[in-house]
Point group: C2
Chain length 421, copies 2
Amino acid sequence: MRWSLAYIPTLRETPAEAETVSHRLMLRAGLIRKLSAGTYSYLPMGMRVLLKVTRIIREEMTRAGALEVLLPALQPADLWKRSGRWEKMGPEMVRFKDRHGKEMVLGPTHEEVITQLIAGELRSYRDLPKTLFQIQTKFRDEARPRFGVIRSCEFLMKDAYSFDRNEAGLNVNYDRMYDTYLRIFSRCGLEAIPVEADTGVMGGDDSHEFMVLSKNGEDTVVRCSGCPYAASKDRAAKQGVGDSCPKCGKPLQQLPAIEVGHIFKLGTKYTEALDANFLDEDGKQKPFIMGCYGIGVSRILPAVIETHQDEAGIRWPVSIAPYQAVIVPINPPAREAAEWLHREALEAGLEVLLDDREVSGGVKMKDADLVGFPIRILLSEKTLQKESVEFKLRTEAEPTLLKTSEVVSRLKKLLAQQNGA
Amino acid sequence: MRWSLAYIPTLRETPAEAETVSHRLMLRAGLIRKLSAGTYSYLPMGMRVLLKVTRIIREEMTRAGALEVLLPALQPADLWKRSGRWEKMGPEMVRFKDRHGKEMVLGPTHEEVITQLIAGELRSYRDLPKTLFQIQTKFRDEARPRFGVIRSCEFLMKDAYSFDRNEAGLNVNYDRMYDTYLRIFSRCGLEAIPVEADTGVMGGDDSHEFMVLSKNGEDTVVRCSGCPYAASKDRAAKQGVGDSCPKCGKPLQQLPAIEVGHIFKLGTKYTEALDANFLDEDGKQKPFIMGCYGIGVSRILPAVIETHQDEAGIRWPVSIAPYQAVIVPINPPAREAAEWLHREALEAGLEVLLDDREVSGGVKMKDADLVGFPIRILLSEKTLQKESVEFKLRTEAEPTLLKTSEVVSRLKKLLAQQNGA
């Protein structure tokens, strides 16, 4: 791809609306733009990252045996009344009447819909277990949307639901999702810590949140300095936890964090309310034992940026970078070699961006750092005299000189290593 | 994938709610389920088809130089008032007030949002042309939703928007999208006819609809029996066209059809209303010249089914089939060979489904035909005595006997041919 044909409206100045570093960088690097309070458009660079994140999630969910579905955002209020959440959800749930006067809801989540769906379809214990997932837009009428796409009114979520015969089956599915979540976040370059969590309006017994420690996090993790105990602040408060660890008595730390995932053992809360039963081996009708598993897909972007940036801009992990490398010819004589390199890299199946703009080398280098491509390949008259390029990782301070003819094989080797990691 | 782990709830009986063959088959083959009037859940088989269709669209739009974005479904009413469509849209547009009393809209389309977006970003003629697209959920409060996902209240759409300096540029982009649409539909196995169309509430000058002839179509194509003239019924009515062709005078036919795409030359309607200007080479501010291009993504499924089915079920084109082939062991002694074949096919990167259910061979064959996998590989005691399988295309009446050891290479060859076509 050529920069001149792409659409990367970088900003020199920091937009006044942005309070956190990830919000600032998502605007400045041309990843998103605000439409109105709590709603954002993803521009091409942001969209490329979002597509890579969804691909990783899809691969890992499929590997874990989950099946992909797509459920409606428009939901009849009736279902929510039957589950008892019509009242509980409060003003965050968008409600309206359709043209026939029927009460509708814009789905903030899909426990009711999926439970009603499978109630008619999975009839026997032989059909179990099943885990279904979707990657879909959710709506939440936030009182105070903030931090860009971290707390917005419309966001992309991966939600999954498991259905089992018994608690033992639920435990197996829950543990599998727990492990799958660690894989997903790790592939996205995130260090996400699982912590004990409160179940809130979801209900159910057991729950874990996946937290990325970050000074701009809205949530708080309570973590023991001496043992593996870690919980969300809400959970710790409900447990009556004070300054010392309930497990070992050592001092607790309170750390700000961004929640990127949340898993729940729901049990029979929804299946009993919505009459979703299966015929068990003993000939009895029983409610399905349910789990639910969410990932804030859009939120992964700011969580990665909060933990992968410096004063110059974003430092994308290779796995979700909009492009793996940017080719920067910094003066006209370097153009021809840059074009050749671009063609060679494309032919080798690499995702490279050629900065073909007629702007100064300084602007190109600033933009490359701001948008945060993992690798920068700089060509100048000087490097070409040595039949070389300056090859620089975004995470390293200094470039190394590399023969132009060796760039593509070096890129391939490097990407194979990093993607495999 | 194993049938026992998949989720393919086929129905023997025809659901009462379904009026058309595609609606019946989408329900019977376990592709979709109704949630409420005009809203449907996609089950795993339907979702696999939907993902393949979106992949084709994404590839072809990218090949045509369009850049992918994602725009909010929640839109401020203010934007629609500025464009003048707040009144024009009528009760089909979902409107509600958010918790702060602000009037909002659930986007039925995105001309206003994209125009406002680029107004702040594309400043110079040097930034043009640009075409942006998204694959996103649209909402329309239909008075009478019907025919399953053909006319529903929530549906997946690919919408694209081009921005040019002048009419000549718009014409180039329009023609490129016209060709791209023909490629997309053709890759999905659809014969879509471009016809002159009315511009309706979109406004603008020139417009074409892409129509799939089908006896269950809601739309009508008026086509000349003697020359290439073809128009939508609305357009023909506005032109005052009667029973004979306005071009050559020969008799006109009226044919039912399903609209799968619609492209418009919008001109400056939205860019003038929303004050979206660029600085041209002559130093003057001018409104962008705009085009917009829609594909009814969800609607492609029923359009394909209407034109690819027989009494036994669906006949998926290979390019968008949920699985390319189904392996059917019809009695226990064939299981081991079926398992071996399944493993070999997976290792070769093929998308095959192994029907490992403990049901009769008759049920398996009926379901294979109903769901409509392009290839059926049947193994029985009889075929195995000849170290062979029955290899049958869904579109052919009779199977051929094929050595078990040759199945995978035969599949690979066949799929390469059909996908390349």
